[in-house]
């Protein structure tokens, strides 16, 4: 991401393939980028905490919202907050969520002040709406005791996380350099010239889309209504396993494509990270089943017998199950970053917004 972008600028400075000049850093304020990173770094633990809330069934540990047991969210006594585990989880989740909300406001402000790209400002507004909706969904899940809203809340969280990743990408110096017109010799990034054989956007987007479908399917298993018929869990599990089998295939296809683009773009690195995470995620998925429902009978019959007892609410169960949830979001984030850079590599450079606005921006 941005750091990598900066690093590659330095590398390209010495590279014979990069003949576009010294590629000195852009003179654009970094604050939006830092704030986008801060938001991203807040949302990930927020997802962890939300996952723990679901794992421990602690969503209703605090019966009111937006208050906590009648207190303002920020004034809830520390002693009470730390006293009971499920209340700790739920209240912490709310606090981190509020922090994400404040960071989103700060990001929007910084975009408004420092970023002259109109679409970027719109994305900032979208982020604020998104975080508000997500918080409201969480709150309504509490006041309405709606497991469906919990389900939607759980599905929306990775989406917002991926959105924060895209904000970090769009505000990164490397992305900004990509947006320079071709005649801007000093700052143009030669690697982003259109590829000879461009790949349809749908093919690139398929990777994050498939990851998201998988997340939604997993969420259905996590939020099974208590009265649903046994057949539903079977259906969700089969679909979840099917997409899990498709993901490595999709990943391999992307990797093959990435082999044909300049290494400096970092697509292969993104896909390597994705591959490792995917391997970990599959292992965590199998582990999640085991720590919740024990080894299946076929495993005992065909592989080996492991005399294991599930411990409900145990540390292993909580960590493995929640890590599976959080790694799913992380996979989506990596896939989103990959897709954005891949799209940037295959598509034509974006429209230039006019030299006047560009000069005004650089002088900000």
């Amino acid at each position: 991401m941005p750091q990598k972008g900066e690093k590659s600028v330095k590398q390209r400075g010495n590279s014979p393939s990069h003949r576009a000049g010294s590629a000195r850093p852009l003179d654009v304020p970094r604050l939006p980028h830092y704030l986008a990173w801060a938001l991203m770094a807040t949302v990930f633990p927020l997802i962890w905490m939300g996952g723990l809330v679901t794992t421990y069934n602690a969503g209703m540990a605090v019966p009111d919202w937006p208050n906590t047991y009648g207190y303002n969210l920020f004034l809830y006594p520390l002693e009470s907050w730390l006293k009971t585990w499920d209340v700790f989880l739920e209240h912490s989740h709310r606090l981190i969520g509020a922090t994400a909300g404040f960071l989103t406001i700060a990001l929007l402000w910084s975009l408004w002040v420092h970023d002259r790209r109109p679409w970027m400002r719109k994305l900032g507004i979208a982020a604020l709406i998104g975080v508000s909706l997500q918080g409201t969904l969480g709150g309504l899940r509490v006041v309405g005791r709606e497991i469906l809203l919990a389900n939607i809340h759980g599905c929306a969280a990775p989406l917002f996380f991926a959105f924060t990743v895209s904000l970090a990408v769009f505000t990164s110096p490397r992305w900004r350099r990509r947006e320079r017109p071709a005649d801007d010799e000093q700052n143009a990034d030669e690697n982003f010239r259109p590829l000879r054989h461009s790949i349809p956007a749908a093919v690139i987007i398929a990777l994050p889309a498939l990851v998201y479908v998988q997340i939604v399917l997993g969420a259905q298993l996590r939020h099974l209504p208590s009265e649903s018929a046994p057949g539903w869990s079977f259906l969700w599990t089969i679909l979840h396993l099917t997409v899990a089998a498709l993901l490595p295939i999709r990943w391999a296809a992307c990797y093959r494509f990435a082999a044909g683009v300049p290494a400096a773009l970092g697509l292969r690195r993104w896909l390597q990270v994705f591959g490792w995470l995917l391997a970990a995620q599959i292992a965590l998925g199998l582990g999640t089943w085991v720590v919740n429902y024990n080894f299946p009978r076929w495993f005992h019959d065909w592989v080996m017998v492991i005399p294991y007892t599930v411990v409900q609410g145990g540390l292993l169960q909580a960590i493995v199950t929640t890590a599976h949830t959080a790694t799913g979001s992380l996979l989506l984030a990596v896939a989103t970053a990959y897709a954005l850079w891949a799209l940037a590599a295959t598509e034509n450079p974006p429209p230039v917004y006019g030299s006047a606005s560009r000069h005004a921006e650089t002088s900000t």
């Binding site: 539903w232 007892t309 609410g313």
Partner: protein, 490 residues
């Protein structure tokens, strides 16, 4: 109890405002400081009769009013700025008099409305117990019969959100209320809905063992409604003791989906045990009603007194019997302390007993204890009824059951995986009592039955079985007694 400071502040009798607030919050669930009156029906939320979207929009409105109350207090007027109940449709909201919504609030409200319309296809409906029609042709149960049975059961036992205890039953209502209802804590911080939090995903709301995930598990989760439990310490098929259920909850069943609930507090475990007993007694009463009304055509309407005397009381007596009569449950004698030579001799004796025809071990567990006996088609009581004589019959029967037919496999002792626990005492109990609801017979004496083996012989068999095991089943550390016992026994 859990949140003393929070509760004290909201229940401070000296502050009338706080008292009104607390009362209102007890009457209805809090919506961010905005509370609706009057008291709704049901345990939580506004009356379910109100459409979901309307309820949610009202909630959104209440939240906005309360969130705006600090900033938008008008400066004139006596009542302005005071917290009190203000009219809101056909009820009242607790908020600030004169509170106005800003443009931002209105925009937020609009946003909420859009959001809520997304979730409008769902609403919280208090779940109902499902009528036990397992193995019955549902078309043969007349609507009037079904209604009469359901009404009687609700009258006697209440609903999943609001359980009741019929007269004469040894059940603690306060424990049941702790386990029943939707998941969460009330405003005093007391946790509710323990059964739904921990058990329902496998055992289902009605305790029918057909929860959302049940079909994926082998063996299936227990169906409590027949009042039969596999791992008990009572002989002769009597009802389990509270301590039996508690032990299963604490230790779990190794190698199955039944987890150990050892991290739960003793109060929570007691509440769950009581709720399992409640579901069992309710389920047995339900079976009594089905037999009486559907099979025997008892004239309707049903008489409450008749059901109580003929159905509930005999069932309650059976549940009390094991607890009150010490002779019913088996006390495992002290494990004999044996030298290596004596232990080897005991294992040899056990091996000989194992092969004897009176024991019938070989028939299912095989000559070497590998679970490969001559009996290949074994089913427990919960699956027996699903098995037809022909495959065609079995397929036809399947539509009257929630879960497909599942066969039973005798234990392979060499795996060292014992669902009921791998301690010598556990194996002793399994041999002595058998496993109720399965073909595993009791070998020890029971009231009115002499028994196949003596206590010493059962110990010999126990040592032999454990000597075959490569390792023992894992159980949580706090209850593990003999990890690696099989190694010592070799």
């Amino acid at each position: 109890m859990i949140w003393p400071s929070a509760v004290r502040r909201k229940h401070d009798d000296s502050d009338p405002e706080a008292r009104a607030f607390a009362q209102a919050r007890d009457a209805d669930r809090c919506r961010g400081g905005a509370v609706t009156l009057p008291k709704p029906e049901g345990a939580f939320g506004p009356p379910p009769s109100i459409p979901y979207n309307i309820r949610m929009l009202h909630t959104a409105f209440s939240i906005l009013v309360s969130s705006e109350m600090k900033r938008k207090i008008p400066q004139n007027g006596d009542s302005a700025g005071r917290r009190q109940f203000i009219p809101c449709g056909d009820h009242a909201c607790f908020g600030i008099v004169g509170a106005r919504r800003s443009a931002a609030s209105q925009a937020a409200l609009l946003m909420l409305a859009i959001l809520l319309s997304l979730g409008g296809c769902s609403s919280y409906k208090p779940p109902d117990f499902k009528l036990n029609l397992e193995g019955r042709d549902p078309t043969r149960v007349k609507p009037a019969q079904r209604e009469a049975i359901e009404e009687m059961l609700t009258d006697l036992f209440g609903t999943p959100d609001d359980p009741r205890v019929p007269p004469g039953l040894d059940l603690d209502l306060s424990l049941l209320q702790r386990a029943a209802g939707p998941i969460g804590r009330d405003i005093t911080g007391t946790e509710r809905g323990l059964f739904r939090k921990h058990c329902v995903v496998c055992h289902g709301i009605s305790g029918d063992g057909a929860g959302p995930i049940a079909e994926m598990l082998n063996p299936y989760p227990r169906d409590f409604r027949q009042g039969v439990f596999k791992f008990t310490s009572v002989a002769g098929g009597a009802k389990p003791l509270r301590s039996d259920l508690l032990r299963t909850l604490k230790r779990g069943l190794p190698g199955t989906g039944m987890p150990s609930f050892s991290p739960l507090s003793p109060e929570d475990l007691d509440a769950l045990v009581e709720y399992v007993r409640y579901l069992s007694i309710r389920g047995e009463t339900e079976l009594f009603l089905l037999r009486t009304v559907v099979d025997e055509n008892e004239p309707l309407p049903l008489q409450r007194r008749f059901v109580l005397e003929e159905g509930v009381r005999p069932i309650a007596a059976l549940w009390r019997l094991a607890e009150e009569q010490p002779g019913q449950y088996v006390i495992v004698p002290q494990r004999p302390k044996l030298s290596p030579q004596e232990l080897a001799a005991a294992i040899e004796r056990g091996k000989a007993l194992y092969q004897e025809t009176r024991a019938q071990c070989v028939k299912c567990h095989g000559p070497d204890g590998r679970g490969d006996g001559s009996e290949t088609e074994l089913f427990d009581d919960w699956n027996k009824a699903k098995k037809g004589i022909t495959d065609q019959q079995t397929r036809e029967l399947a539509k009257w059951f929630a879960l497909p037919l599942q066969s039973l496999r005798p234990r392979n002792f060499h795996d060292g995986l014992f669902h009921g626990g791998g301690r010598p005492e556990d194996i002793y109990l399994r041999i002595y009592i058998g496993i109720p609801g399965t073909p595993m017979p009791a070998a020890g004496p029971a009231p009115g039955t002499p028994g196949v083996f003596t206590s010493d012989e059962i110990w010999d068999l126990t040592f032999y079985v454990l000597s075959l095991a490569r390792r023992t089943s894992s159980v949580p550390e706090d209850v593990t007694v003999s990890a690696g016992a099989s190694e010592k026994l070799r």
